[in-house]
Amino acid sequence: MKTLALPGTLDALEPLGEFVRAAAAEAGFDAMAAGRLHLAVDEMATNSVTHAYEEQGREGQIYLEAEIDDNELRVALEDTGPAYDPTTRADPADLDRPLEERGIGGLGIFLARKNVDALLYERRGDRNRLTFVLHRRPASRT
């Protein structure tokens, strides 16, 4: 298992992207699948930095883990913000409305969910933990 701890600021997004893409490549996923996973983790890390830390006036870190087995790649993202489960949030209801009438909330979790096979939440001690799961299909195995 690989791990990485980053400061809970938006500057973490670039090294986070490198970490996630490297894990996807190691698990044999192509660039498109790696990009989708990157997008999912990036969106949720942006929410962590913004809502768990900056808006609360708190400082903290975000923690990444990547684990590969025969069946799947699992990337976990943790923050130490107040308990919050984004997976219970409904998809935006206005996706088919004209842009000038749309709200801008909820797109991040929508994209995160859309771009992985499963997105799981748990509260572990003082941490929110999101796990992003990609199934390793036969064609994508190395």
């Binding site: 930095v49 004209p98 797109l107 859309k114």
Partner: protein, 111 residues
Amino acid sequence: MAFSSQLEVANNVAKITLAGRLDASTAAGFRNLVDQAAAQKVKSVALLLDHLEYMASAGLRVIVFARQKMGVAVKIYVVGAQPLVKETIEVSGFSQAVVLLPAYDAALIEK
């Protein structure tokens, strides 16, 4: 690749070239250019994305901002988007609000 953004206004078209990775840490640069373009009362906006490797929802929000700031009469063209960027625009329901083009089409955009 680091993010970069550039604005060029000519023939009533604001051409905004984006390259690298557009995420929440870099979207402010894009938004500033949209603000500058809006002040020049252009008829259309062309987002030139051939070298944009990646776009998160922060980039989509700037497109919403552009639409809301410039009004519905201003056409927004998204030119040369790479597959994942194009997919992100489409699944988010933005493809009805912008025109996706594989390459810059002066006859269409500058008419």
